[in-house]
Symmetry: C2
């Protein structure tokens, strides 16, 4: 019955959404190739005016977690990366400390920024320069990144780091999306640039710590105020021509409100790539589990018998659980599972979805929903949501009429997929009908 | 009881999402200022490789409608714009004709494109050059746009059109998002451009028809094959320096899969800005309607008594309806409404949401859901979804305990908002519980 498919190779962190194979090989290479200290500076002092939102974009939440936490996590998960220095405006210091604590970002260190992007980066670099602070030893290579580019992959970080070590500086680039044109002072077209010769300069960028620190020590007030490009400073003040490395499209910067929706879609899609179906031992439940698994062909699914200790491995590999039971009161097994998620911290960073499928074997399907039971289910749902577990119920009536059964299983599939993809907190505790 | 708020000023088309006031004044200006024929060419021959999808991006659907239909609609809704020539690859000709018919795009004319973007645009322009075809008279000004930029606003189109009439050519620009750098042939940084002097060239662009047609007649095979910029051709072959006009961020081009998610979010948000609450005459229902209206303060809502003929005006101004009734069988009124939407074509372009709120006055709330009733509701939902009407049900138990009642109304609000915002087809026909 244990039909293992791909579940053990599933990436659960959106940072590894793309290039899975590349990620895995990078993982091995990363630990072997980076035998020197690497740290990160994450300037996050921006006010997000462009976004049209009251909250600076790095603090806007996706699935109840601030965007910047996803970015920190993208670095923190890599064993070869040390401290992540997060530079925030003074007024956001407490907020940021709160995020670090709530999301358990053990590698993060929060410092105050300056009044411009370059001043903030310099503040971040200065956090390392005091040799007496053993918590933040001076790194060999420092990676500078944007707080609002959450999907940076290990593969690229490794390339950036190694190129920085070798060349002194390195930076991610992307092809230009639009033609770049020069304008006259009256607002007319002067000429257009030949697209092939130019690139958009993106983040992350990597530097030998000594080079970028020196560049900032030497640069002018004008640079601090109006400059935007760290690579330019390294070139101008240290004569270092950065090595340029083509990055993937997922590097894009969350700039507008619509970008938040796009980031949310990427994260939700990643979280919806796998599920674990818990079916117990009853023949009808197992049959339904298999039919559901066949229908859920867009997801990588596994069917297991129960959610006991021995299956902890399964339970830690996905954040979606479909619990099939034939007796109405059986959702208490769900309670155990939800408690376990809390204990193991499995729902800290991403909400876990539990869909309780109640397979009705009698004909009195709807009338059998006793008010008390429903109330108990709803109160359980409102309890576990505190621990970031989203609990939904779906009833399905058993029938021996093949056509009718197929239609019901198809509806069950659609509803299950909708609940898992949307992860909508407002619909928890509902008992739907397939 | 008829509390009118902003419902009559609501924009329903995502094209007018932003700059509502500007839109309205442009609307007036548009008809007055444009006293010459204007047409549009929409090259849509792309294969969407960058998107990582099998379907070319212009044919990817949002709420069951292809992206290109939103773009066509953005032009079609303007009275001063005539024919919209859509240029597609030969293999997509039937697909495109199908879309035009299904979405009732009366101004669209479909023609075959060439093997490059410039060849496709030229094909589009040639559709006008035959003077014998009275369906597509030669325009004074032609607007060239991308099929995958659906949110173009009238305000900008008007500026582009008038500048093209006056200067011969005009184009939308945006500030550069990233620093543009020149690279050496070995992949190192050569220098970075001074951001303030350059702009990204976007769409739409406008031209005197005779100028752009002549430019294409004169340009080289190399231009046809590798050129990307119409403004450049007008400059090089006709000596016309285009007037550049700054456009809003919503102009962005749907390029990657994540952009589709962003576009969907914009459309769904726009559709969720207003709702009409139909409450009947019973005191409890009216009371609930008012409480709900107060809670739905993010939306512009209206409470009306019934959905009869005389209220057609209300019914045509929003695509979200909340139907409150105190008797269980009352969802039949919903059926009437759904049929009316079909008759008036109100759900052709955007799905209409109908939330049927069943206010239980008795204590036996859940047991009162008779299986037959539920089955009837579900089959009604699966019927009206064929006409693009999404029907959901929510039960709420009446109580005189203020705290309990407030909590229930709060839950009702959250569920209603979730259903309206998500517009999830898989959840129609469900009877939820507040």
């Amino acid at each position: 019955m244990l039909k293992r498919r791909f579940i053990f190779h599933m990436p659960l962190d959106p940072g590894c959404l793309l290039e899975r194979d590349a990620e895995r090989s990078a993982d091995r290479l990363g630990c072997a190739a980076v035998d020197f200290p690497v740290a990160v500076v994450l300037p996050a002092g921006g006010s997000g005016e462009r976004m049209g939102l009251a909250t600076p974009k790095q603090f806007c939440t996706i699935l109840n977690r601030p965007l910047i936490s996803f970015t920190i996590q993208a670095f923190e998960r890599l064993s070869w990366i040390g401290t992540v220095v997060v530079v925030v405006a003074k007024e956001n210091h407490d907020l940021m400390l709160n995020i670090v604590q709530k999301c358990n970002h053990t590698k993060a260190k929060v410092v105050h920024g300056g009044t411009s992007r370059h001043r903030s980066i310099f503040s971040g670099l200065q956090a390392f320069s005091s040799t007496t602070d053993s918590l933040t030893p001076k790194p060999k290579v420092v990676i500078i990144h944007d707080a609002v580019r959450p999907f940076v992959e290990e593969d690229l970080l490794l390339k950036i780091t190694l190129a920085a070590k070798e060349q002194g500086a390195s930076g991610a680039i992307r092809p230009l999306v639009s033609t770049v044109i020069a304008t006259t002072s009256e607002g007319y077209l002067d000429h257009s640039l030949e697209r092939a010769k130019y690139r958009a300069s993106e983040m992350p960028q990597g530097f030998l710590y000594d080079i970028i620190f020196q560049a900032y020590q030497r640069c002018s007030e004008f640079d601090f105020e109006f400059g935007t490009e760290c690579l330019h400073l390294a070139l101008q003040y240290c004569g270092t021509n950065a090595k340029l490395i083509e990055g993937p499209p997922t590097l894009w910067k969350v700039t507008y409100k619509r970008d938040l929706a796009a980031a949310e879609a990427i994260i939700k899609e990643t979280l919806s790539m796998s599920a674990c179906i818990i079916a117990g031992a009853e023949a009808e439940a197992v049959e339904l589990a298999k039919a559901l698994q066949k229908n859920l062909n867009m997801m990588e699914t596994d069917v297991i018998q129960c959610a006991k200790e021995s299956n902890t491995e399964y339970l830690s590999k996905t954040r979606n659980f479909i619990h099939i039971s034939t007796t109405a009161s059986n959702f208490l097994g769900t309670l155990d599972m939800a408690k376990r998620f809390e204990d193991t911290d499995h729902a800290r960073l991403y909400p876990v979805v539990v869909v309780w499928v109640q397979l009705n074997m009698t004909k009195q399907s709807v009338d059998s929903q006793k008010t008390d039971e429903l109330t108990a289910f709803r109160s359980l749902a409102s309890e576990v949501i505190q621990g970031n577990v989203l609990l939904y119920g779906i009833q399905i009536d058993h029938t021996k009429v093949p056509e009718q059964w197929e239609r019901s299983v198809e509806r069950l599939t659609q509803i299950t997929v909708a609940l898992i993809r949307d992860r909508n907190a407002a619909l928890t505790g509902q008992l739907l009908h397939a």
